[in-house]
């Protein structure tokens, strides 16, 4: 995929963010997470969490007292700030500080897990003892010191979110509100929701690695309700990335506003398509949801090591046309799903799931990689210190193919195009998956005709892959704020795809006799 990275790179580099708030207003940057420990801090993250090499080693020693094949300490501090504009005013703010350390010990396929929010030594030692109870072997020798890995470069920010005051953010919400209302007189309500987060993680492993990562995130959403002839319709748009304040250029904000209003207004004309099986064109970008549900989850190795995925016996097999390559990649700068390191401290990179139509590799965490005798793919992720990691996606996309969008539309006699989505789901074993289409179009006689809305689409993963008969050359990642919620753990992800044709899918709709 030719990743069309950040067309606004120029704006980003301008570095015009000015810290205008008094320090007490500037977020948590002025305060370390814990009182600085008495020992000499050895790196800024250790200092932030109030620990040093010796305490870390001591806790690791307790954690592995009954034996371990692997063990890690996952220190995390996340500060999330959100603002809401409703009825023209920004009258609600929220902040959330999540701080704790997760302690994991792995013996064979067994995992012991505990966490504590109290980062004092006695509390961490108690949690370590709890976690170590899964094991019943001999003490292993923990490392005496932890070797810091280099800082990653996937989302280096000029000004951390902690130093951006509300007086800077508030005008953005006001601007979005004003510009949205100006676009159409039938707009009744506009709501704008802002969120930014600064996350610091520090992972110390039994192998002696010390991985630190400072992960920014921001998301902006606008929700529009309009009224025509007594009928109400609601639409929305959002953008999200691991970026800083300068990412919100006027151009980007206006594009989001236009998109939200367009999506709302088209619904007054949109109807349900006829129900049943038909060819489905998936427009470039957000339609990457197909990959996330139809193949991505089924390729997560925890399902495969248990034999519970429909893809469990398919590595090396032809699963799609030879012009189809599907990738999960974390090292794409500033994307919402981007990561420098995964949450087990492994470098997060590129894993090819399908190459030229052949199924290549699962997404591995350390447990599954060990079982398969492979290197981890850097796919071990977790929602927070409260959870043990498991294999997850990052940015999942399909690379460009040989066709054009125009050729694909011309090839369809009677079908639909799907453009925007709200959510999807998959059954790992049967391979059946769905996604919900908010906006789309009917295609009749090779031409785009009437708008459609609110239909669920259902298919079977391996069958749908085989039915992708055309792939265009317009691949792009979606900038929407996607969140994946596997087993109750939410992690940010990205997805993308070029325009593709699936020769047959089942479209929810009205039965026409």
């Amino acid at each position: 995929m030719r990743i069309k990275r950040r067309e606004f790179l120029g704006h980003m580099a301008a570095g015009s963010a000015v810290v205008t708030m008094p320090t007490f207003l500037s977020g948590c940057g002025v305060q370390t997470a814990t009182a600085v420990s008495e020992a000499t801090p050895e790196n800024p993250f250790m200092s932030w969490f109030g620990v040093d090499q010796a305490t870390t080693a001591r806790v690791m020693s307790e954690l592995t007292a009954n034996g371990a094949d692997a063990a890690d300490l996952y220190f995390q501090h996340t500060r999330t700030n959100s603002l809401a504009l409703e009825d023209g005013i920004v009258s609600s703010a929220k902040s959330y500080i999540e701080q704790g350390v997760g302690l994991r010990v792995v013996v064979g396929e067994q995992t012991g897990y505990a966490f504590t929010e109290d980062l004092t030594l006695p509390s961490m030692l108690a949690a370590a003892r709890t976690s170590s109870a899964i094991a019943s072997g001999a003490r292993v020798t923990p490392p005496q010191s932890f070797d810091p890995a280099g800082a990653g470069e996937m989302y280096v920010t000029t000004v951390p979110w902690a130093d951006v005051g509300i007086d800077q953010k508030l005008p953005i919400l006001k601007f979005v509100d004003e510009k949205t209302r100006a676009l159409d007189p039938s707009i009744q309500k506009v709501a704008v929701y802002w969120a930014d987060a600064d996350e610091r993680v520090m992972i110390a492993t039994l192998g002696g690695k010390l991985v630190t990562d400072h992960r920014p995130m921001t998301r902006l959403t606008v929700v529009v309700t309009a009224k025509k002839n007594g009928e109400l319709q609601t639409g929305y748009s959002n953008i999200a990335a691991r970026e800083d304040f300068d990412w919100y250029t006027e151009e980007r904000l206006l594009a989001m506003v236009q998109e939200a209003v367009d999506r709302t207004m088209i619904q007054f004309e949109a109807r349900r398509p006829p129900a049943g099986e038909m060819p489905v064109i998936l427009a470039s970008g957000p339609s990457g949801i197909l990959l996330h549900e139809a193949i991505g989850h089924g390729m997560e190795a925890d399902f495969n090591r248990k034999g519970t995925s429909i893809y469990s016996d398919m590595i090396g097999k032809e699963v799609a046309e030879p012009f189809i390559t599907i990738v999960d990649q974390a090292d794409i700068p500033n994307e919402r799903g981007a990561l420098n390191y995964d949450d087990e401290g492994n470098p997060a990179g590129r894993t090819v799931l399908v190459k030229d139509g052949i199924l290549q590799s699962y997404l591995h965490d350390e447990i599954s990689a060990k079982q398969y005798g492979l290197q981890p793919t850097g796919s071990g992720r977790r929602e927070s210190y409260k959870y043990a990691p498991m294999p997850r996606m990052s940015c999942t996309f399909m690379e460009d193919g040989p066709h054009t969008r125009e050729e694909i539309i011309e090839a369809v006699d009677h079908g639909i195009i799907c453009e925007t989505y709200t959510n999807g789901q998959v059954q790992i074993g049967a391979g059946d998956y769905t996604f919900y289409v908010k906006n789309g179009w009917l295609v009749e006689g090779g031409k785009v005709t009437a708008p459609i809305k609110d239909v669920n689409i259902i298919g079977n993963g391996p069958e749908s892959l085989k039915r992708i008969t055309m792939v265009a050359n317009d691949a792009r990642l979606d900038t929407g704020g996607w969140t994946c919620g596997k087993n109750g753990q939410s992690v940010p992800v990205s997805q993308g795809i070029p325009t593709v044709l699936v020769s047959s899918m089942t479209v929810g709709g009205e039965n026409v006799s």
Binding site: F24, L25, G27, Q31, A33, T34, A35, E86, S91, S92, A93, K94, S95, Y96, I97, E98, Q99, E109, Y113, A114, F115, E117, T130, I134, I166, L170, K189, V223, T225, Q233, T234, A275, G276, K306, I310, S312, D313, K386, A388, T422, N423, Q425, V426, I428, G429, A430, G431, Y433, T434, V455, N456, I457, I458, G459, T506, V507, G508, G509, E510, N511
Partner: protein, 438 residues
């Protein structure tokens, strides 16, 4: 522990007032959770955690904000609160933002909710392992089983709240759940899968682990050989377990916030016959041992039985204090508790016999609904109903329509309430539903 948490909440309110808040509300919570996961004959994961948190709502100069932290270090809390007050001052004033008025938390019910079972605190490693082994053996009692993962989840939660205008309250509950998920070898590369979990506040009310594992296996077995169902307009029978989430979708915009934001198909329906007279939904927070029972809600509003829909007529919506003031509606509660759905006389068997033919839905797959219009489209799986009995297993189908219209075509209601959900719903029968499949 309740008293200690209550003191922390009171202290937090005092600290916030000292930091400059005109009014403040603080909730401190603590929980202990243990999770055992057991797969295919071996213990796979043990998670044992104690967690804490503090959340506050503050009012300064007619402005409002809310904050939460897991870091309860008193020194750092001081800084956190000072910053919270400063953030609030930087916002715009809003005449509708006001702390919950005392009349809403006066006369708190004293019903004994029976949410704490001392036996939960006595559950030990051996007991959890024994349950896991029984679940595993009963869930894997079939040649087609590829894998079964069972688990035991138990714990307790205590919270205490205090406010600057006199609210004080503590709530405590225990829980214990267990169950299994089963994956079976099906035709081709397909795996059939389903599961079953049972739980509640009291250990003694749980069905035997062997019957829970058995039920999980039976549910997975009934998925074998599933094929894509037809594109058809037909009667839909939604089983009791699946009915809860459909009711959840119906109720999602039944609140003052959605109405005030003009994003609700419930707008203007109070007093109207909006749905079939077979539909009754009561929000009842005072059911002993109920999964969502409580004496007061997140805003401190005293719990009371609240009819939402009675025989198809809309009686009340969920109204929190802020959006209530904005929309000119009296507050009820902003957050649902136990939702009790009216039952009928029919067993599931009798419902199927009465219906004759149609589609029996056992679970949903994805899909969504538009809060403003009520338009929905959901993936479904289940069975065809043929000659009044369950027929072949089907999946890969969607059901599409409008929620208000669907619930106006609720034709029959069962007597088979699914107990392991805070939405206590029986099987529901709808006529003339659009399915899409082959």
């Amino acid at each position: 522990m309740s008293a200690e948490l209550q003191n922390k909440a009171i202290q937090a309110v005092e600290m916030l007032e000292n930091a400059g808040a005109d009014d403040a509300w603080a909730t401190v919570s603590q929980s202990r959770d243990v999770e055992f996961e057991y797969r295919d004959g071996a213990l796979e994961k043990v998670k044992d955690t104690t967690s804490q948190g503090l959340s506050v709502q503050i009012y300064v100069d007619g402005r409002y904000s809310s904050h939460a932290t897991t870091d309860l270090n008193p020194e750092r809390l001081q800084g956190f609160f000072a910053e919270a007050v400063a953030i609030t001052r930087a916002l715009e004033p809003d005449e509708f933002r006001e702390i919950t008025p005392p009349y809403l938390f006066a006369e708190r019910p004293t019903t004994h909710l029976d949410l704490v079972d001392q036996a939960v605190f006595q559950i030990d490693r051996d007991q959890r392992l024994q349950w896991c082994e029984i679940l595993d053996a009963s869930a894997r009692d079939n040649d087609r089983v590829i894998s079964a993962t069972g688990g035991v989840y138990d714990g307790s939660q205590t919270s205490a709240a205090a406010s600057s205008n006199g609210f004080r309250g503590t709530q405590e509950s225990t829980y214990c759940w267990y169950g299994s998920s089963v994956t079976l070898r099906d035709y081709g590369d397909r795996r059939a899968e389903d599961g079953f979990y049972a739980g509640g506040a009291h250990v003694s009310t749980l069905p035997a682990a062997s019957s829970v594992g058995h039920e999980a296996l039976q549910r997975a077995l009934s998925r074998l050989g599933a094929e894509q169902g037809p594109t058809v307009k037909a009667t839909m029978v939604v089983d009791a377990r699946a009915a809860g989430s459909l009711i959840g979708r119906l109720l999602q915009p039944a609140n003052a916030r959605n109405v005030q934001q003009e994003q609700s198909f419930w707008t203007g329906l109070i007093g109207e016959q909006a749905f079939s007279d077979k539909l009754t939904i009561i929000d009842d927070p005072l059911i002993p041992q109920g999964l969502a029972s409580r004496h007061y809600d997140a805003e401190g509003i005293s719990a009371r039985r609240l009819p939402i829909v009675e025989n198809g007529v809309v009686r009340n919506l969920y109204v929190d204090t802020y959006n209530g003031r904005k929309a000119g509606m009296d507050p009820t509660t902003g957050s649902p508790s136990n939702r009790v759905i009216g039952t009928g006389d029919y067993s599931l068997e009798a419902l199927l016999a009465e219906v004759g033919s149609g589609v029996y839905v056992t679970s949903w797959l994805g899909g969504n609904a538009d809060s403003t219009t009520g338009d929905f489209s959901l993936g479904v799986r289940g069975h065809m109903i043929e000659n009044g009995k369950l027929g072949r297993s089907v999946g890969e189908m969607n059901v599409t329509g409008n929620l208000r219209d669907l619930f106006s075509r609720l034709e029959l209601v069962g007597n088979d309430v699914y107990p392991y959900s805070s939405t206590l719903a029986p099987s529901l029968v709808f006529t003339g539903v659009d399915f899409s499949g082959v």
